[in-house]
Subunit: 459 residues, 2 copies
């Protein structure tokens, strides 16, 4: 099932108008293609950390083909095994798409998203979590890519030009009203409205601040760490991140090396990738404090809201960051209600797509907590830049203490890769969500039959 | 991919000893068969509630075939669409099983469970939540079924005869130590040890208390509700449950009918199936209080720990119950830490199988909160009875305020169905986990090609 693109069963939801024998050319979703794409990154230990020892960065990738218009691209990022399960989950959503007029979907993306999360049988598999929810996110993101291409705008700009009411209409408000109501969200968005043109211009001129995780993978030796840390500062980054949590002595040594390499002004964040219980996290992080750590990321289970709150109280002034594995807006709501985090690390392909991330941006703005998206992987940098730029222009209106993660690999496989200059993401100007993988990458890294996996020479 | 049982790729993990040309007869896992089984229950509106309008009760069903010993059976319960995704997730685990000696798995079920949840690539799909985690639960439960058959004991008895240290060794203790340590768990289990023989005898003589949801589905009319409620009391149940949350006036009318039918002594619980936001839950439940409601079940999102805590504070003395959609032990830990629930409704196929449910039973015992398992569906009654009986004999040592849900449908398709007498589950005596579907049910309800779905007459 993983070799060939799969195509959903066409289900005509509406017939073209043909009363007078004239068939209007309505653009429709023709097919839902699902690809299992995997990059053999475990061979180089790129992406290695305390919990993820041997990732093969992968994408369960979906292409919405249309009868006459542009294609919509989206994906779930995974780290290898199970990518076929993610692909199967995307395929299960094809009946919601095939045969449907494109304008019906792109004209009501809030309704489309809520329709998918409300399927009366599929929601049992979550609800709103895990593989099935990520599949909804991939399809929703593909629909946004399509909508932005139809509108001939980059996604960040398309979102940033919507009225406050339209933005609020994108959200599924279920389970949020004890923390944020639609009315409060409109107030937040209205407050940011007058500054939109000025911030749009500034974003295009300066780019959005980034930080880099490239130096800090656990699989790299000390010399490589020092070299890459120095290169990061030279390249203009004001923050780097190191993986920690496997061995305390190693962490202390590596932090000393990194701090010496970058000097006292550059921020150093550390990331434990869920390695600890709550008491262990507190003890370990306190030991790292002497190196002036900016945040501790994923100190414990991403499900442990109360645990993050306890850790934050104990390790201040070191900040607590999490979110790349937070399953939905309800978990983010509680992390904010419980004062459990200092940084919201939303992820582009973990939750229910752009729509749920709009909810998360609004919640973060309500609680005045900066959003610093998780990225890296396959295409996550390409996607999250749009969300942070929308946040800057139209939601929080600020990039104070906000940085987008950047990791320098696999970008070459994208049609519209991110551009980093002086430690900042330049605003993409091409229409869409920057999600398109090049056709040759889809073919070469197809799992398990593509040449990158079979060993066939693929000059 | 949903028509035929799938068989994993055999991976010999260890060769039989053959140094002297003598091959020892080691029983091994020969194949992992995965079946997509669906019952067309939506035709009768059995199982209808405020969120699940049209369930087709289904099972992503796994059979571990062995070279010479008994088979192990397990499954994920779903309500229809997406069952094929659950089946794909189970299939992804086949490499952990095929070719492996049975004794290696059944001899260290704690290690086997932790091995599956720790797969360095698959855990990205959760971690420990959603479809991938439920698939681990199905495989772990199948391994327990196999172990109990090999031991020639019903699962509840097999578990109840383990030493406290062996029971503690079944648990994945990651992320629990701020609420419960292995040492504390041993103390709890030791306290229950002297009473094991007496409670085992009592359980076999009296059975374990049950309650019934049969009268209360939203799809039933008032007369059917009144009739079924009276029948429940006559059958010996001291608690019934009604679905609520679609319409307040309907709920008030139906509760009045039910209260009149059962009299003042029988407990009436209500179940909103995640219908409300926190403020709406509080307002609605307070309106139902006049009918002496025992618990409100799933008032809001199963992910909303803080929300359940707020609701519980506001609607006391009505109890709050949840758990059938709680994804893992970490969520249960927090529900207990936050004093958010009065009843722990563990589910047999939502979490990581028997092992994670042992952790949940231990957490509940630590916090002195009674466990009242979710059941119904396909085979959930058959599974959870073993967990509650183990809890009674060897963990909490009590059935005070503890009841197992009972719904009277689909039991006829099981080889060893539950037996209810006088409103109590009789202790199963047959070896295993009572999970085996009859071969003719696997064939008849195979989706989409079985005769129950194709309309082919299947006298």
């Amino acid at each position: 099932m993983t070799d060939e693109p799969r195509t959903g069963v066409p289900q005509a939801r509406e017939q073209p108008s043909s009363r007078l024998g004239v068939v209007l050319p309505v653009d429709r979703i023709l097919a839902v293609e699902v690809h299992d794409v995997r990059f053999p990154t475990s061979r180089e230990l790129d992406g290695s950390d305390a919990m993820n020892l041997d990732p093969d960065y992968s994408a369960a990738y979906v292409v919405l083909r249309t009868t006459s218009g542009p294609e919509g691209h989206g994906f779930i990022f995974t780290i290898g095994r199970g990518n076929e399960v993610a692909a199967a989950a995307i395929s299960s959503l094809a009946p919601y798409l095939v045969g449907r007029p494109v304008a019906e979907i792109t004209g009501d993306l809030g309704g489309f998203y809520r329709e998918l999360t409300s399927d009366s049988q599929l929601r049992w598999l979550g609800p709103e979590k895990g593989v099935m929810h990520m599949a909804i996110g991939a399809v929703v993101n593909a629909a946004w890519d399509l909508a932005a291409k139809v509108a001939e705008k980059p996604l960040w700009l398309l979102l940033s030009e919507l009225s406050p009411e339209k933005i609020v209409g994108l959200v599924d408000w279920r389970y949020l009203s004890d923390a944020l109501t639609p009315e409060e969200a409109v107030v937040i968005l209205r407050a940011a409205e007058p500054g939109r043109p000025e911030r749009t211009a500034r974003l295009r001129a300066e780019g959005y601040p980034a930080y880099t995780t490239t130096p800090g993978w656990l699989g790299y030796d000390d010399d490589k760490l020092a070299l890459l840390a120095k290169e990061a500062v030279a390249a203009g980054y004001s923050q780097i991140k190191l993986k920690v949590g496997a061995d305390l002595d190693d962490d202390l040594r590596r932090l000393a090396i990194a701090r010496q390499a970058v000097g006292p002004e550059v921020r150093i964040a550390v990331d434990a990738n869920q390695r600890w219980d709550v008491p262990a996290a507190i003890e370990w992080v306190r030991r790292l404090a002497e190196f002036d750590v900016w945040w501790i990321e994923e100190p414990t289970s991403p499900d442990d809201i109360l645990g993050h709150a306890a850790i934050r109280r104990a390790v201040a002034p070191i900040g607590v960051a999490t979110g790349e594995h937070a399953q939905n807006r309800i978990v983010f709501k509680q992390l904010l209600q419980a004062s459990a985090i200092d940084f919201v690390q939303l992820d582009a392909t973990r939750v229910g797509g752009v729509n749920e991330n709009v909810a998360i941006l609004l919640l973060a703005a309500k609680f005045s907590v900066p959003v610093c998206p998780h990225a890296g992987g396959v295409g996550l940098c390409e996607l999250v830049q749009h969300l942070s730029m929308f946040d800057f222009v139209a939601v929080s209106g600020s990039w104070q203490d906000r940085v987008i993660e950047y990791v320098d690999h696999l970008h070459e496989h994208f049609v519209d890769p991110v551009t980093i200059r002086g430690g900042r993401y330049l605003a993409p100007e091409r229409a869409g969500f920057s999600a398109d993988l090049k056709p040759e990458a889809l073919e070469r890294f197809r799992y398990p039959a593509g040449p990158a996996w079979t060993g066939v020479r693929d000059a």
